[in-house]
Symmetry: D3
């Protein structure tokens, strides 16, 4: 089984950290490749970053059609997730949806610990989109930018613990989620510090893709994730031709 | 890794079918035991059945403390799920929650195909409890009682297809869920007939427990699933003593 | 008119207190019997307690079929409520649902003052199940275990007042609900202290059953509370035979 | 105990029918007076009717301060309910809120059978305001105007049965509510015809006021139903002076 | 184009302030008349005020049928809005709905800064009625009564800034709304002080009516805002005859 | 005042139609430029189209910084809306949000008439994101692909009428929205045919931007739409440099 994990941003250091987690998530006999987007912003913190990174993700998928059994999108905003699900039949899982759904099996309320304050409204929208707002105790932020996480990981760990503790003691969180792929790998230390399970979306997403693939559960091609219609496209070179020349003529 | 799957009803035939699915769900190196509740109704279709079956489930868990790495409750009402999560530290997953959450990874709307009409309001309550009502296109029923499923599986399969087709074509379902453990194993034929993924909660729950165990994610012991308080209990023999003599003195 | 009030736990002291409140709730010409469950935990604080107590409640009802005009389940978790509604045609009311619905007639937001912290997520689920989450200002807890309430009632009263005051002044509560049958009778003193109405679910539930009986409003036997199907049951002696040998053959 | 039931419209015939139901709803020793609004439209079917009728209701209350232990507003739109709750300390209950909350004790889903089609969106808003939308299976209408109900009660009864049957068989209703005070008294026949409980809001509201009064539960004077501020008013004669000259100076 | 702005209360000073804002809101070639209700309370702070003011608003509209192209109701409770929409075909916009919807174009969360504490639950109900509760960060109050605003505008401005700052810094508000027509004109100073957009509902509502009129978008006469049925009315003189003698005979 | 309307797809014919509507929407003294995205798919029907078109929209905005007072995104999926709001201080309005919010002023329920069936789940997600799901009566589709609309406009108009009529008569819609920019200009004919207001999002959005600009209401720069952080970006040429070299250092 081959799984491609895509880091939607273009920071190779983060891709290395994601690779480590992703491989820890995978079972035996599962080959996991991890790549960055080839274009896009260095980090994904806001809505513009998200849109620009989405194309980077989609190009990676278009360029690998037929080579993988499943995909993981490794950014807590799940950029381009629905579009990716349209492009392929095999499972595509985002690390935010993975962490949120898995959290529901081990606690009745989760909190997300994210990076900059600006992530709060977008994360709230994401939780609502997945229908899990009732299960969300709070969204907290450390105030540390994505690319600063690796510059001072000790400070990041401390801020995570501070916010995690408040989430558990005041907000009613029973499970914590690492709200950024840049935090991958910090779950164990945080769990020990705060005394509740902490989920790393990268690990969860890889495991979920593996499970779906193992049981041959493919993305539904009815309505939401139907293959794109056959149509012209300009300005993206030929990378998406494999998708757009092959689509249905519409459900007219 | 050892997983105990509990069929909450007392029909051995159904337990056999569940065993087959559960083992198909398990990865290599995973031992799966499947047992019926030792007491309770022959089938679980209403609220009284649910309550009486719950004790059967809990006795199985109390009687196996320390022997398993995780548990599955194999009835689509997820009876006794929260109580079971309190009793042990290891993961306990119900087949309804497993199927519903996994459905969200492969489609934007799911429908549940259940048995008797009376299952509709209780299933609606369950979906709402898990916060996923927005993702539920419909709850449909075949009108065939649980114990009649095995008497005429061909008729059951036909009714499943009829209702599944309506769910997909009229209700907007992109994924279907088998809404009763007695339907386990019927997913592949149904998927072929209706052209969308069909999830078997037994297979999903075993896989999820396996994933949680593999990554050492245990049930949160904060608030909802905290160990029961130390207290007296009468009328249940000694089976729950292991739980109640060992609890905290409260969070006072 | 004869009403049976069931204390789902097995603490006779609490049953005595409930009896006093229940009789205060009843109008003239109404006979109120109050009994404990014959089996189950001494107090009900968590999910396991709730499941085990449920059977005790249901056995009391099965053993009294035909003798009462209505039932009250006197624990703020409303254990076994839906199952009880299935078993009989006459009204069955839980003290939590009674208090919550009645609160809506005298204020636009209520708060529940409960016992241990662990009650918060379960009470939230209960409020949501009844559809009244928008009307709930907060769920607060005193941190005093159920069985400790009677050991030091003065301390309990003081903690109730402290939390009640915060609920009114900070959370926006306009009405308070006693969130545990063990608090029954404490409403008047609390109301005086905080200046808003405080509802005692035991009193409310008895009154509601009386009203329903007086107007011959019986539980709907359509869908949710339909009589249980005829089926076999093992391990519960013969107490539930009166129910299961008499049911419909299903809505097939 | 003295209860005043106010028919918000100015049709004496309907007031007579409401009087009959209200007295049937009252227990022994309860005196029930029933009056029409002194001004307003002959029937209440839309939003303008509702506003104009509200003043009629409020004048009746202002003119009877100190004479009653509780009030019922007998129109299924509950006109002026919140304002009435502000004016007095004693309980005021509307027939819509009464019917909806009581329905929740005997079934998991109710449908409202109303009069003209235009009542659908306003009734939906009312159900949502009370937080009970999840419990509402449907809102159906007979298409018969309020004042035509008494002209051809047989036709009204037939249309009620037709719509009630669809509500039960197709929409999943387990309880029906008479969605107009003009339908009062038709509940028994309808219940017999459709086989589920049918609640008459007039009867329910009188019983609820009686219960609240008996247990000395008064309207909360915190926030929502606080007494009106002391202030000038023009154009309403002196009827509201008793309220406005006596109010608080505000919570500044 | 002629627009009538109605101040639902009977304070001429406030009407003058509203006139100033309303004319600032209007484009060139738009004539804006601003009047007070001819009867009702001096200020609108609670539910009784709201009901009594509603009739004043409706009389102004009934008395001006055919003279205006659109109406604005200038009180943050939007009194009589639905009834007004029934009476005329042309657009009627309330300042609360105007401010709330417009806020959604410039921020993801708004807070309302209102006057007395009692406004909190009614404003919450209003936001919920418009479906925008998810977009509301908080409802805050200055504790200053409506008629005291003009007595000490400096104090009002300071309290607005204090509460506005908390809304932005702690509650997550990205936009602020002036929660009372008596605050009209204070938006610019507040915006400067807190650094986020502040919307004045009077200005917004006039602009929206102008836009709707310019594009000939009239109120839908289907269901909710259908013309009132033809019917008798007593106690309101002849002012509403123009409405009630002209209505449809019902949708029977 | 200068407004730029961006057609997110690359079909010049559609851009012409949008230009006509946009200019009809604008008041006197408002200059409206209308351009297509320079890259992306010919039409936007699914999630992949949406992502790829988003970049086209954002490039147009980045390339015009400082030249316009406001922007309109003219595709009913509102692609790149949040990112666009981040990039500039002036208002950016999408045609879907414009139509949905404006609909709320003239009716209590709207229906969207869209193109292909696949638009149903994405449109539902959009309505939910804007918080207006309670106001949505239904989402209906004509089954005609975007680019086929202009090939046979008569057929499109007929299908619109058929679906619009069902929305009004069966779903309870009081207002209809054209669910695709390709339908722009068809509102008047449809309104005449079905007898309820029909809103054209292009016209609404231009008017709203004009109103916001006229009253100097700018996008909130707090949280959701804060300027992007200063950061590196690769693979997009220099078009976004104007944004990314100028951003804040984060809220750390």
């Amino acid at each position: 089984m081959n799984i491609l994990v895509i880091n939607p941003n273009t920071s190779e250091n983060m891709t290395d950290a994601i690779r480590e987690s992703a491989r820890r998530g995978a079972g035996s006999g599962v080959n996991v490749d991890v790549v960055s987007a080839a274009r896009g912003p260095r980090s994904i913190e806001g809505n513009l970053d998200h849109c620009l990174a989405s194309v980077g993700v989609l190009e990676r998928i278009a360029g690998s059609i037929g080579k993988y059994d499943g995909y993981v999108i490794a950014c807590f905003g799940d950029p381009a997730l629905e579009a990716a699900c349209e492009m392929v039949d095999c499972p595509v899982v985002g690390i935010a949806e993975a962490a949120m759904h898995m959290a529901c099996f081990v606690g009745s309320k989760f909190s997300v610990i994210s990076v900059l304050d600006r992530a709060r409204p977008t994360t709230e929208e994401l939780v609502r989109k997945y229908g899990l707002w009732e299960k969300c105790a709070s969204i907290r932020t450390t105030g540390i930018a994505v690319l600063d996480l690796e510059r001072d990981p000790e400070r990041a760990a401390k801020r995570l613990e501070e916010e995690g503790r408040i989430a558990v003691q005041e907000d009613g969180a029973e499970v914590l989620l690492l709200g950024c792929a840049g935090l991958t790998g910090m779950n164990e230390r945080l769990a020990k510090a705060v005394g509740v399970p902490v989920l790393d979306g990268v690990v969860m997403a890889v495991s979920l893709v593996e499970t779906l693939v193992r049981h041959q559960i493919r993305t539904s091609k009815k309505a939401m994730f139907m293959k794109p219609e056959k149509k012209g496209i300009v300005g993206y070179g030929s990378v998406f031709d494999v998708i757009y020349t092959d689509g249905p003529r519409g459900d007219r």
